[in-house]
């Protein structure tokens, strides 16, 4: 076990922090072994081992250390674990340490200490703001090459290449009150709301509740140290049956109507896969009331080379010492414009560190904290600036000097002070992200120098309250008081009448006025010798922002995209307000005039797998299969997706090509017996006394007089006059019909019918039920199909006279009760045998067995397409595309002239739908009978050497037809009905095919085969 040089022994009165020193944990970072303790984060454990250099910056590959304590961390981005469980861009400050944790730094090669990419830093003149758009733009043809190199050189971590092996769950919850953040304000709110009996969810992104109280040693509530008060409150909350406590749960999205998303890390902190336990849970929370208690994010100070490892946020430095028992430096220097920085100095002094100095931006600091620091003998440099930092892999010292009174320059020459830690406090930004996501408006608070929540967007669903730091409240006493009120108000809004409990007494250091200096003055202008970093993660400097403003960027959204400030995994948590201030100063305007960029979900990066949950793989989209599906699979069918259905496409025999198989199937379906699994066709049961009238209105033809047991083909239009579906409908009884739809259109047609029934014709008594899944359908056709069916069916007279075309008979087929329809999509004599789905396989097997001697041949959707095209039958969605009318299809015969109205009738008579040169359905025959046109190919009259040419239309269906002994095609061609016999051209890459326009019927032109 390695010693932990920066781990300090527990303090006699202040304690040893929140770690468990009895549970040492081994871990690896960049291949080297270290130890930490249970309760550590990876960041605190690395600092305990004196590891400050943890990453390389994005653009310049500058050495970087840990800046923050939590979600705000821009530098310490870590790749965790290996293989397909590997996860990039995790913040070391948020990774809970576990035994065996294996972490790597990112964006360095060959190793962190000697990174080749660091040459970028010396070539920085090549990488100004917008360098993508400038340096690499010329010659333009090289951009793709440049981009590839840039993408390889940049980038943060590496995404795993295989599927995520972990499991994620979705949870739905509907609390009365959701409280986001379990710091002092959130805990107080939860307690007040929970005591009323309201259903409360309290979520916090950290492993332990308490927020800032865990990192302070100078706050006492009701006489107890902060963490003790937290423990009591959490214990009481845990005992409440209606309160759900969600630690390790980051509420990261605030969507409409109080719908919030939170990701719970269930096993990430254990570092092992736990059986029957998801890795993460995505909580989908619909809250009646929301209390935001998200705290604050500290602002860095912008000074020269402020990115040296060892320069960190003051509250972070203090958090490591107080919460984790780690001194991030033995000789800290504090630079602050705020009394809060003094607390860090005092925390370090109390733990034996020798504070190098407090550089205070304020000329005359005063107050209890300042007095306490003076009493400790700490050197306070009032009205001073840090002109720049020194050091390579670790800060070694800073240059300080007295500022001019207005803070714009230095009044004296600089002097060097040695230090190994710079704790900077540039003030605090309320964490307004979720409030802003709820579309609430922000207001610039000139006293705080920060944006605070102002007006809510939708009062009915806005956050009921923002309390504590995220509302701009800077004392814990007030945060707790506001939290209690907000928690109670929220509970009352959902019906509680409980009384408000008394606020606890809070003892905390008093704070005085602060001073904000956005860019600390230096002995050299910004942009000369060294860099003033604003956005650490994206390597955006004050000089870059100045440049963007000088180049004419005014909108902060544009500045963001041009300079990349505020982008990346941290989304500018530490940089945004500094960037706004610098842009405002350059533009000579104020910060509210510049405004903020839009806050968008998620607050912190969230694993995509959590959103997927269980809806992946087979559960992503259901696959629908027919009852005979196992038979198709066992007999080598190739399948195609039709909507969610898996349909046999063709059944190749050993050694057959697709073309050979389809040719064989097409020939057999006419000359012997073909059998098609037609179960996927949409089926709708239409019932009620007005059913016939209803069909009369939704189809173009007449339905009132259709006899019972008779079938009719129908074309369905929308009110614009365009074809949307077709199918055969059969009258089962006076008040009952069996409608079929296209396979892919079933759900859409049902919705279309329901919409009209509910909204236009509520007076009609019609009931619609989808029965697609209730029936298995085997469609047999061909010369021998009647003979085959007769063998299996003795209770239906199958003769043409007794059972004519377009009729339905009920009977028994292979011992199974069946409805047999004499309808045909191939033009052959054909029977569609419908049986209850559970008999589908039995029917199929019986037909195959009895049909063997007749040469029964199963055929798939490809042969079905060819067979129907041979007869010129359309497929909706292939010959039609939502802009085709029945007249375009030469189906005038199906459009009733006598009905006063049907859906689409008026639409058909719009002027544009009656133009003579509309695209109309025709057949095409190629000059060479073996040439098969590609579907979608464009058709022209006059071929030019190169486009553009005047397009006449396109090929909608095209096949080789074995039955015709040649290729056939259907097409939509402008004025096609008047072009029969014309020769047109289909220009393709490298060749042009001549075609003759024909009727779209290629086989059995008299239609004599349907009766056998």
């Amino acid at each position: 076990m390695s010693r932990q040089p920066n781990r300090i022994a527990p303090h006699a009165t202040l304690g040893g922090g929140r770690i468990d020193r009895s549970r040492p944990l081994g871990f690896r970072f960049d291949g080297k072994s270290y130890t930490g303790y249970a309760g550590d984060t990876l960041a605190s454990a690395l600092l305990a081992n004196d590891v400050h250099l943890v990453g390389r910056s994005f653009k310049y590959h500058r050495p970087r250390g840990i800046l923050g304590l939590g979600a705000e961390e821009p530098n310490a981005l870590i790749q965790l674990a290996r293989g397909n469980r590997s996860e990039p861009n995790l913040r070391a400050t948020q990774i809970e340490l576990f035994d065996g944790l294996d972490a790597s730094s990112q964006n360095r090669w060959p190793c962190l200490k000697y990174d080749v990419g660091a040459v970028n830093s010396t070539l920085h003149r090549l990488f100004p703001a917008g360098f993508y758009y400038k340096t690499f733009m010329w010659p333009a043809s090289m951009w793709l090459t440049y981009e590839e190199v840039i993408r390889n050189a940049a980038g943060l971590g590496k995404a795993p290449e295989g599927p995520d092996p972990d499991r994620y769950e979705h949870m739905h919850t509907h609390p009365d009150v959701l409280i986001v953040g379990a710091g002092p304000a959130g805990l107080a709110a939860a307690l007040a709301a929970g005591r009323t009996g309201a259903r409360v969810v309290l979520a916090d992104e950290q492993a332990e509740f308490g927020g800032s109280l865990l990192s302070e040693d100078d706050v006492f509530i009701d006489g107890k140290p902060g963490p003790d008060w937290v423990a009591e409150v959490v214990a009481e909350l845990a005992s409440m049956p209606e309160v759900t406590l969600l630690p390790r749960t980051c509420v990261h999205a605030y969507l409409d109507h109080n719908y919030l998303l939170a990701a719970e890390r269930v096993t990430d902190h254990i570092g092992a896969v736990i059986p029957n336990t998801p890795r993460q849970r995505l909580w989908k929370i619909r809250a009646k009331q929301v209390v935001l208690a998200a705290g604050t994010l500290e602002r860095p100070l912008v000074f020269r080379d402020n990115d040296r490892p060892g320069v960190m946020l003051s509250t972070a430095a203090r958090g490591y010492a107080v919460r984790y028992g780690v001194t991030a430096g033995r000789k800290p220097l504090i630079v602050t414009g705020h009394d809060d920085g003094y607390r860090t100095a005092l925390a370090y002094a109390a733990r034996g560190a020798q504070v190098a100095a407090i550089v205070d931006l304020r000329p005359e600091p005063s107050g209890p904290l300042v007095d306490a620091a003076r009493e400790k003998g700490i050197d306070i440099l009032a009205g001073h600036s840090v002109a720049g930092a020194h050091g390579g892999h670790r800060v070694e010292g800073v240059d300080v000097a007295e500022m001019t009174t207005d803070g714009s320059g230095l009044a004296k020459v600089t002097r060097r002070i040695g230090c190994d830690l710079v704790a900077m406090c540039g003030g605090f930004n309320p964490t307004v992200h979720l409030f802003s996501q709820s579309r609430g408006k922000l207001r610039w608070d000139a006293e705080l120098d920060a944006f605070v929540p102002a007006t809510v967007h939708d009062p009915k669903h806005a956050p009921q309250a923002s309390v504590g730091g995220c509302a701009g409240t800077m004392t814990i006493a007030q945060a707790v008081k506001d939290g209690i009120k907000a928690g109670l108000d929220a509970a009352r809004a959902t019906g509680s009448t409980a009384r408000q409990p008394a606020a606890p007494k809070v003892d905390e250091p008093g704070m005085g006025e602060h001073r904000t200096v956005w860019v600390l003055p230096s002995d050299k202008p910004v942009g000369h010798k060294g860099k003033h970093f604003v956005d650490f993660q994206n390597d955006v400097t004050a000089a870059d922002l100045n440049l963007a403003a000088r180049e004419g960027y005014r909108s902060i959204e544009h500045v963001k995209r041009y300079t990349t400030t505020g982008m990346g995994t941290d989304q500018g948590k530490t940089s945004n307000v500094n960037a706004l201030a610098i842009v405002a100063a350059t533009l000579g305007t104020d910060i509210p005039a510049v405004g903020t960029t839009t806050f968008r979900p998620p607050y912190t990066p969230t694993t995509i797998g959590a959103y997927g949950g269980r809806n992946i793989g087979k559960l992503f989209d259901p696959v629908r299969t027919t009852a005979a599906d196992p038979w198709h699979k066992a007999h080598g069918a190739k399948f195609e997706h039709v909507g969610q259905w898996m349909r046999p496409w063709y059944y190749p025999k050993a050694g057959e090509t697709m073309r050979q198989a389809v040719d064989r199937e097409c020939m057999a379906a006419r000359n012997a017996v073909g059998i098609l699994d037609a179960s996927t066709l949409g089926k709708i049961d239409v019932r009620g006394k007005d059913s016939a009238e209803f069909l009369n209105r939704v189809y173009t033809n007449a339905w009132l007089k259709l006899g019972i047991g008779k079938c009719r083909y129908g074309l369905m239009l929308n009110d614009a006059g365009f074809v949307i579906d077709d199918g055969v409908t059969t009258r089962l009884a006076d008040d009952r019909f069996h409608m079929t739809t296209t396979t892919g259109g079933a759900a859409r047609v049902l919705s279309h019918l329901e919409e009209h029934l509910q909204t236009e014709w509520p007076d009609l008594e019609v009931y619609l039920t989808s029965v697609t899944e209730q029936w298995s359908v085997a469609s047999i056709c061909g010369a021998k199909c009647r003979e085959l069916l007769a063998e299996l069916c003795d209770d239906i007279d199958l003769s043409n006279d007794a059972f004519p075309f377009m009729a339905m008979k009920e009977g028994t087929v292979a011992g199974i009760p069946a409805r047999v329809y004499r309808i045909s999509f191939t033009g052959e004599l054909s029977f569609e045998i419908n049986v209850p789905r559970r008999y589908g396989m039995a029917l199929w097997e019986a037909l195959m067995a009895a049909g063997e001697k007749h040469g029964i041949t199963p055929y798939g959707t490809e042969a079905m397409h060819v067979l129907r095209a041979e007869r010129g039958f359309i497929i909706v969605g292939q010959e039609t595309d939502g802009s085709v009318t029945p007249f375009d299809l030469a189906m005038d015969w199906i459009v009733s002239k006598t009905k006063t109205d049907f859906i689409g009738k008026r639409g058909l008579f719009r002027p544009d739908l009656m133009l003579p040169d509309r695209k109309q359905l025709v057949g095409l025959l190629t000059e060479n009978p073996n040439e098969v046109l590609p579907e979608g190919a464009q058709i022209v009259e006059e071929v030019k050497p190169q486009p553009p040419m005047v397009m006449l239309g396109h090929v909608t269906s095209s096949y080789y037809s074995a039955n015709c002994g040649r290729s056939i095609a259907m097409a939509l061609v402008k004025g096609g009905h008047g072009r029969k016999g014309d020769t047109l051209s289909v220009p393709l890459a490298g060749k042009t095919i001549k075609v003759t326009v024909t009727d779209p019927v290629f086989f059995d032109l008299e239609g004599s085969r349907r009766d056998g």
Binding site: N258, R286, H457, Q758
Partner: protein, 100 residues
């Protein structure tokens, strides 16, 4: 993710619904009497209101019933929902009540 009040099922997540655009667009009783312009208006012309708006929704993954909602298309605030055939509430009155 809005919370849509279905008049039959109560408030439900908007993932259960299908949007149906402007409400109270009535199919003309005698389409043959419509001029081309009137039929075009019925087919295609819809208001694109910013603010409170009467619109149709269908509870697709629920009761499969169509209904109407008065919803602010900008704030997404929902003021009322009602069954087809019921008269459109007075939008000005609904929104005024909220301000009071």
């Amino acid at each position: 993710m809005q919370l849509i009040p279905c008049p039959w099922c109560g408030p439900r997540d908007d993932a259960e619904f299908h949007y149906g655009a402007e409400a109270h667009v009535v199919r003309p009783a005698v389409p043959a009497d419509c001029s081309d312009a009137e039929w075009e208006a019925y087919l295609y012309l819809r208001r694109n209101t910013k603010g409170p708006f009467a619109e149709r929704w269908m509870h697709t993954n629920g009761c499969r019933r169509w209904f109407n909602v008065i919803r602010d298309t900008y704030t997404h605030e929902i003021f009322a929902s009602y069954k087809p055939g019921e008269p459109m509430p007075d939008i000005a009155q609904l929104t005024a009540k909220k301000d009071a």
